[in-house]
Amino acid sequence: MDDALNGEGFDGEELHGEEVRGEPDGEPGGAFDGQLGDGPAGGEPDDGFTTALEEELRQAAAVLDPMPPELLQIAVDAYALHDLEARVAELTFDSLVDALPVRGVTDAPRMLTFTAGEVTVDVEVTSEGLLGQLLPPRPAGIEILSGPQPGTPVTVDEMGRFTIDRPPSGPFALRLRTGSDVITTEWLRA
């Protein structure tokens, strides 16, 4: 493999490695070299090349790895999701981030908690679907959203519990209607 010829370090370390071309280099902590009037006085001849190379790379990215058009459309359509009336229940606990992993347990369900004022929604995501509980319990209509389209309605029992038999694929949110209140949980990918 010719890659070895270049002697580039592996991950992480490379930026501390020997400078490839032995050029003088501003140490970190210096100015944004190359950005703000970096001229010959900066110790390095004008680095116009970096700007040119970056621009060339930018154009390459635009050809080889652009934002997919269908994704752009989805993002444009997502405008329908803005709703200044609804309250947003923020994600206040996510076991993926906030819980310590248990040794040997690889398929622990994902536990999520969303909070909006006095209302808490606990959700457990398993391979079978979602188990949730609205606290304090109250009559509510809940739907699970997967995009701007209307969601699938879910029934809530008198303890505030609800079940969804299918794990969400892709982003999801729950929309709760309780009294005159509309609450949506923060969009998340399960």
Partner: protein, 212 residues
């Protein structure tokens, strides 16, 4: 009402000061307009900052499917928070940071479960030829494609930190350093020097292959 697209520093030869020429000051106004019901303003935001979000997810080497879902999640959440952002003029940084957090969750989840596929970007060279063009133009285009392909390959083979930094920097329109900082969790002050190093490295690789 302002509903144009975000200005782009893009593709002329004029060198730009990072984050200066890309006038992000309009972002705050666009966010406000969108929150007030202006769909065209929303579209302008998506077009101006969508590529940044995409760059962030790609910088984290998510698979195609994960990259799509994370991007969607970010935009859905942004729509949800529209009108509630504390600093609407920093919407770019908000998006970049949210994308980063979601990417890190995906990566964490993958470690917990199994490894997934790697994106095979090199197979995705645009093959959308323009069939009716003159042969000469086609040859020129082929040579250009080849150079672009090689450049991309060298870029992909850079060390992980450089690849990641550059992938975000080359979003179009170019992101501000504040946005890059939010996208990667690195200090604004270190971006310039790192950028220099990484581009120098890339150039060295190209030169050693006689591609420069």
């Amino acid at each position: 009402m302002r509903t144009g697209t975000l200005p782009s520093a893009a593709y002329d030869d004029v060198s730009y000061t990072r984050g200066g020429t890309v006038d992000r000051t309009d972002v705050g106004a666009l966010v406000q307009s969108a929150a007030d019901g202006d769909a065209a303003a929303w579209k302008a935001i998506v077009e101006g900052l969508g590529p940044l979000v995409w760059s962030v997810v790609r910088a984290h080497r998510l698979s195609e499917a994960d990259a799509h879902e994370v991007s969607q999640t970010v935009w859905f959440r942004f729509a949800q928070h529209l009108g509630r952002l504390r600093e609407p003029d920093k919407a770019g940084a908000w998006l970049a940071r949210t994308a980063r957090h979601e990417c890190l969750k995906v990566i964490r989840n993958q470690r917990r479960l199994t490894l997934t596929d790697d994106p095979l970007l090199l197979d995705r060279v645009s093959e959308e030829g323009v069939p009716e063009q003159a042969l000469l133009e086609q040859e020129e285009a082929a040579a250009r494609n080849e150079r672009v392909r090689r450049l991309w390959q060298e870029f992909e083979e850079l060390g992980e930190r450089c690849r990641q930094l550059l992938r975000v920097l080359i979003a179009s329109p170019p992101p501000s350093y504040q946005e890059v900082s939010a996208a990667l969790g690195i200090a604004v002050g270190s971006i310039g020097p790192l950028r220099q190093r990484c581009l120098r490295r890339l150039r060295a690789r190209l030169e050693s292959r006689g591609t420069a």
